[in-house]
Symmetry: C2
Subunit: 455 residues, 2 copies
């Protein structure tokens, strides 16, 4: 993507402890392969699922990982690392194997979105970047899927660029929102980098620069025939709508129809009804109504439930920041090394040991339950969700088109039980069962740990 860091900078996108731990491992010769799981440890409020997203860009990062001369020189300047480790970094490439749940698939707590098996130093050094990338995109794809649910077939576009947390966030938000169901984005750079449809209207400043709405509307409608979306709330929404209506004969004479008018403030339900009537009375039945202004899935669902005559929604801040739940509890945990499966028992967030696979079981076309099993354990009738994406540091195939992830997301959300797809998920959470093999392993490791307590 266009916001890609140069390779040395990307390699330095690590928390310091990744490097200090890696240096210690290197010095002690702890270099054998290990396995880490990257997963969500709990669902954000009101969510019944997450939409896995961000794996493809993560593979770009892993394939391109290298510490260039500048990066190594900077690390040397910290006086924390010996030359042997710095030489290891200069030669380091990511040589591991990665399995992933495909982008757009729905997932649940403790299901590995990514399973990384690599020499310990490599597996450790990629933690920060993987968490950052997968966590944010999964957060936004999930939010977008919720907005799509609220829209119930109407369209929405990503207008979040100005309020997102930096430019990289805006690019990633446009991508994740599109996978989650957005029809397009206002962000031009995202259009270029991702090939997704661009969408735009006009700003209040455009009307203000003309001083008169009629002149501004005429100028814009003529500049973009058939595509112009006219913003009508700069001074007074209904007066703005009447101005558009008054221009109808003139526009018709020119053979021009604006695509839509846009509401951006006030009571969108009442205003949309009144504006629809004004437009229809002027014969502008083909001019749509587009709405924006602090929208989120809750406000859209309310409007749609009341059958508001709005054709499309622009969703900005709340979509691109996942405003009601702006972070996701993604973690990256050691689950196995050459001495065997590993467990962490800290009371808040225990881990599940061993290399695992996730199987989904469906009944009557609906997702019924998942089974978390050990990687080599059969689960007859279940569909395995984790697939290999990187083998010895190289992709197993070309990057998947974004449209495939988008289609997968729509189908996966559709297949969810209604109470989990709801904007206020309620009732029992989705069943994620542990296989017999996994349950036995957890019990055995807990017993061993108790026996050696404090060891």
């Amino acid at each position: 993507m266009g916001a890609a860091l140069d390779p040395g900078a990307a390699a330095l996108f690590v928390d310091l402890y990744e490097l200090t731990m890696a240096a210690s491992y290197h010095e002690l010769g702890l270099v054998d392969p290990v396995t880490f799981d990257l997963y969500v440890h709990s669902l954000p409020p009101r969510r019944g699922y997450v939409v896995a997203c961000g794996a493809e860009p993560a593979l770009d990062y892993l394939e391109g990982l290298r510490f260039d001369d500048d990066a190594v020189a900077y690390l040397r300047s910290l006086r924390l690392f010996d030359e042997a480790f710095l030489r290891r970094l200069a030669d380091l490439r990511f040589t591991g194997d990665v399995w992933a749940i495909p982008e757009g698939e729905v997932a649940f707590p403790y299901e590995p979105l990514l399973r990384v098996t690599a020499p310990l130093v490599e597996a450790q050094l990629v933690e920060t970047s993987l968490l950052n990338g997968l966590g944010f995109q999964t957060l936004i794809a999930t939010k977008a899927a919720r907005v799509a649910t609220a829209c119930a077939g109407r369209s929405f576009v990503d207008f979040s660029a100005r309020r997102d947390h930096g430019r990289d966030a805006a690019l990633q938000a446009a991508r994740a929102a599109w996978i989650g169901g957005a029809a397009g984005t206002s962000l031009v750079l995202a259009g270029r980098e991702l090939g997704i449809e661009l969408s735009g209207t006009m700003a209040h400043s455009y009307v203000m620069r003309f001083g008169r709405e009629d002149e501004a509307f005429l100028a814009f409608a003529r500049a973009y025939p058939g595509r112009a979306v006219l913003l009508i709330d700069t001074y007074d929404t209904l007066a703005g709508a009447r101005t558009v209506a008054g221009l109808a004969p003139q526009l018709r004479a020119d053979g021009i129809v604006p695509r839509a008018v846009r509401l951006d403030s006030g009571d969108l339900f009442e205003l949309a009804r009144a504006v629809r009537e004004i437009l229809d009375d002027a014969g502008l039945t083909e001019v749509g109504i587009f709405a924006s202004g602090d929208l989120d899935e809750y406000r859209i669902a309310d409007l749609v439930r009341r059958a508001v005559p709005i054709d499309g929604f622009g969703v900005g801040t709340q979509l691109g920041t996942s405003g009601d739940a702006p972070s996701l509890g993604v973690v990256y945990k050691l689950v196995e090394d050459t001495t065997g499966p590993k467990i962490k028992l800290a009371p808040d967030k225990p881990t599940l040991p061993g290399r695992k696979q996730v199987y989904r079981f469906t009944e009557h076309g609906r997702a019924a339950y998942d089974v978390l099993a050990l990687a080599d354990e059969p689960a007859p009738g279940g569909r395995p969700l984790l697939a290999p994406v990187l083998v010895q540091g190289r992709r197993v195939g070309p990057p998947e088109p974004l449209a495939a992830a988008r289609a997968r997301c729509a189908a996966a959300v559709e297949a969810l039980p209604d109470h989990l797809r709801a904007l206020q998920a309620s009732g029992p959470s989705y069943p994620v069962r542990r296989s017999d093999g996994l349950a036995e392993l957890v019990g055995r490791l807990r017993d061993e740990r108790s026996a050696s307590k404090g060891g």
Copy 2:
């Protein structure tokens, strides 16, 4: 910064409507200078102020603005723009004047953080990037200043990289957090790009890889003598502390003292007290206690109020996403063009017309009130906050050192009335008065607009 886009990509970081409006302006010959204000229209919940941040990186963007061949070629492919406009873009540089409130200063709604005067096409095209950059950094600097208030003299570091919204966000968060009062960051790239102190501990996976805490602690303490922070909650926090205590003779024989132990889960108040006792009993009085784990200003304030024996805090997700208020209502509004001052009357968010200056008045060393005045209006006794930073597209001086912004922030927050510095701001909001000249102008423009309603 290291996350800088290439110039063409940076130029394409615009909402589509900036380009469609600019093309229309260009075609109509509306090319004279205009002035836009960038400001916060309302404070996020619980906030009594914001900390202005992000102006310096914005100047880098403005100075470097150019549409390269690839950018122009992409825009041509959209079939929205004529060749004359594309040629204008190919030649475009930012040639305007910019005034800014210095980074680290506190500010209030409707006070321009940035005032941009430039030819209309240029001023329009920079909107998205300016809002994105200033908005996010102001959000995070404000959050960090609140965390600093909660810490009441203890130190905190930015641990947010893994949960921030992309890599650019993490770099910017490290910068804004440091300006707001953080002692350092865990993000290595931010250390290199910004020259701020790096901080790090160890992860649970390190302990898990050894399987035994004593071996892991010894290895890490020896690898980083005097600097190691030992994470003691992988299995059981108090057992972990006793393990450190048990190693004391061995470490002392080696001449090694760990810098601190780290708590990352459980009841931090009770655990810190018990751990402090265990360490002190073993003679490890110089070993500090560092705490992390879903911390924010509210939890820290509660711990500090109870005199918890914690020496430093690692603050991650909540700091880097401003978790309790993850967006800021920043807007960029036309306030003047060659025909005179401009106003927008939409009921939710009216604008204030004209080129303005902000004056701060202090009483007994405390900020007492601000006056929003027209740019050429005197305000005796007030300190002007907006200063010129870019003249005809060039910086008026070298970039300010980050430390100056950090010092300014500490002083400005200290000078606030107590009820506004509080984590739950209450009572009257900070007085931002309108000068006579501004009040008269608003009245006149409202009257004119009413007279020509619907025009």
